[in-house]
């Protein structure tokens, strides 16, 4: 094994500087727009009109941030988004693990048909159902409230598919049978055997779900009002005024994005592992 690795390393030695250079350039273009948005957000609007535009952060960031909180209901929006993304994440993790366990390891009538149905709907554009969903929200009198954003997202087909895939690989069937022989009910087996094994995958699913819910824009825009928005809706209002105020819009962007970037910097490895794992099996 070590000789193979050494061999591979030597083989690629010649191509290396160029590879690194290319990857560095790509990394630069990936990160630069985010960096530049912080730069813009830390200047005042007149600085942007200078002919070489500023490329280093200025000293106006906190002034712009406080302008953001004055202009839009951003505090409320942040609170709403934490509530929305938090409850969706917990629910998706729990219900996906439950259903994933049943699909991966339990035998019941209609299992395959239901699983196929679930996977097939992953391929259907969500916008196909958006009009009736909106009508449903009117019927339930949930428009303008967080229920309209939270409840339809409490479960999703991807989560079930993800946990089914993971558990059918990671959970040994013998463990369940051993639990059965010991007289444990399926419910007890779920809590004692399945959950501990499911935890890493559920955590990855949780992170992906939280990011998706935090970043969701279109549906919240449709069902919510400007007075009671989520972060993304508030941000879009902030940025789409009649007067283009880029420092204001990008300061709002920073508030909405930097928490996720910070979390991602810490846990990015696991998130990437989850995406790559799901991809191969998908």
């Amino acid at each position: 094994m070590t000789t193979v690795t050494a061999n591979v390393r030597r083989r690629f030695a010649a191509a290396r500087p160029l590879t690194y250079l290319t990857l560095l350039a790509v990394a630069f273009f990936s990160a630069f727009p985010i960096y530049y948005s912080v730069v813009v957000a830390s200047h005042d609007n007149s600085a942007l009109a200078q002919v070489p535009p500023p490329l280093l952060p200025g000293g106006n960031f906190f002034a712009n941030v406080s302008r953001v909180f004055d202009t839009a209901p951003f505090q409320l929006a942040l609170l709403n988004s934490v509530l929305v993304a938090g409850s969706i994440t917990i629910s998706v993790m729990l219900f996906s693990t439950l259903a994933g366990f049943a699909f991966a390891k339990l035998r019941f009538r209609g299992r395959n048909a239901l699983l196929v149905l679930t996977v097939a709907t992953m391929m259907v554009p969500t916008q196909l159902g958006i009009i009736p969903l909106y009508m449903l929200m009117i019927k339930l009198e949930w428009t303008g409230t967080m229920y309209a954003v939270i409840v339809p997202s409490l479960v999703n087909a991807f989560g079930v598919f993800f946990m089914t895939q993971y558990l059918s690989r990671a959970l040994p069937t013998e463990l369940i049978e051993a639990g059965r022989v010991d007289g444990a009910s399926t419910w007890a087996i779920f809590w004692r055997v399945v959950l501990p094994i499911a935890r890493p995958a559920a955590a990855v699913l949780g992170m992906l779900t939280f990011m998706t819910a935090w970043n969701d824009y279109f549906w919240p825009l449709v069902v919510l009002t400007p007075e009671n928005p989520t972060v993304q809706v508030a941000l879009s209002q902030l940025a789409s005024g009649y007067v283009q105020d880029f420092t204001l819009g990008l300061a709002g962007t920073a508030i909405a994005t930097l928490p996720l970037v910070a979390v991602f910097a810490l846990l990015g490895r696991h998130i990437i592992g989850g995406i790559m794992q799901g991809a191969v099996k998908g």
């Binding site: 193979v4 591979v8 590879t19 990857l23 727009p33 985010i34 948005s37 813009v40 009109a49 535009p53 219900f95 996906s96 439950l98 259903a99 366990f101 049943a102 339990l106 035998r107 239901l114 709907t121 391929m123 554009p125 969500t126 196909l128 159902g129 958006i130 009009i131 009736p132 009508m135 449903l136 409840v151 339809p152 479960v155 087909a157 463990l175 007289g183 009910s185 809590w191 004692r192 501990p196 094994i197 970043n215 824009y217 449709v222 940025a239 789409s240 009649y242 880029f246 819009g249 909405a256 994005t257 996720l260 970037v261 991602f264 910097a265 990015g268 998130i271 990437i272 995406i275 790559m276």
Partner: protein, 328 residues
């Protein structure tokens, strides 16, 4: 596996009957046979109510003249579909969707493939590269459009500043069809290239190493290895990403919506003053949530869905055909 602390939460009742192993008691049989439905029921109840039911109900609504603001709904059969197919705004939106979709997806996937190829070798700081590549993907659509609208800004945008420095003229990116499509495609590419690269990378890592060893002994260049080994070996993943990107491209809405809002808040639903970048999904939004023509918008949703199926099928066939070319 040690018992987790949550274990005492509920299943006390299950513990007592320890002895007598072969004991198909009624409760046990009931548990094995029916409890699975209990585990999938929270998912399916919510999924039916808020996922599947709306999908099916769209078909029903599309047959009515159904407006939120009027009390009466009249059955009109396929009239909505007939009107839609004669609506030039609809076809304009279909063209824009296709154009932006091709402009963003094709270069994006090719580039992602190449990036994955570069990453699929022993590298220092592999994790740093991966994290950086995925950074755009965790940025929200709204943030992406706000950031790029600044970069593509006519007056103070960085891109125009650079163009001018090279002696080229400033471009009013939002004004033209081609330029606005290019700008929107750039945003989509920026957000999704790294994600697709990681998916390709995952598939590439499953390709047996000795295939490359053999190719190297035969003196194949790395590009040749990519073409003759990697791409044929990860073809299922390529098909998967092509399908997912196609479905994604057909649903593009937030980018043109917010890009239009940068011109004027009123251009939000029309995709620019001349509808030069109104996509199908945005057209659906305009009909459904600006005019509140639910019946008409539902018909548009169905036609859109059929177009998605059509385009996915065509792409699937193209990618499958590619196999022959790549093997040779």
């Amino acid at each position: 596996m040690s018992a987790p602390p949550q274990a005492e939460a509920r299943p006390k009742a299950a513990a007592p009957p320890r002895p007598s192993p072969p004991r198909p008691s009624l409760r046990h049989r009931f548990d094995v046979k029916y409890s699975p439905y209990f585990y999938i029921s929270p998912f399916f109840l919510l999924f039916f109510a808020f996922g599947l039911f709306p999908l099916a109900y769209t078909a029903w609504v599309s047959l009515y003249d159904w407006n939120l603001l009027s009390a009466e709904q009249t059955f009109v059969g396929l009239d909505n579909f007939a009107t839609l197919l004669g609506d030039e705004y609809f076809w304009n939106a279909a063209f824009n969707t296709l154009s932006i979709g091709v402009l963003s997806a094709v270069p994006q996937l090719l580039f992602a493939l190449w990036l994955a190829h570069l990453l699929n070798r022993p590298l220092r700081a592999q994790t740093v590269f991966r994290v950086t590549l995925l950074l755009p993907n965790i940025t929200s659509v709204v943030a992406v459009v706000v950031i790029f609208s600044q970069l593509f800004g006519r007056e103070f945008g960085l891109i125009n500043t650079v163009l001018e420095a090279f002696g080229l003229g400033r471009i009013d990116w939002q004004a033209g069809t081609a330029t606005s499509h290019a700008a929107i495609a750039t945003m989509i590419m920026w957000r999704w290239t790294g994600y697709n690269a990681l998916i390709y990378l995952a598939a590439m890592q499953a390709v047996p190493r000795d295939l490359y060893e053999a190719a190297r002994i035969d003196g194949a260049s790395t590009f040749r290895q990519l073409r003759s080994i990697t791409i044929p070996m990860i073809r299922p993943t390529i098909i998967f990403t092509v399908i997912v990107s196609t479905i994604g491209s057909m649903q593009i809405i937030a980018e043109p919506m917010l890009f239009g809002a940068q011109v004027s808040a009123g251009a939000m639903a029309t995709g620019g003053p001349d509808r030069q970048f109104q996509t199908l999904a945005l057209y659906l939004y305009e009909q459904g949530f600006r005019s509140f023509e639910f019946g008409y918008a539902s018909a548009a949703a169905w036609v859109m869905f059929l177009l998605v199926v059509l385009v996915v099928a065509v792409n699937f066939l193209i990618v499958r055909r590619m196999r022959g070319g790549l093997d040779s």
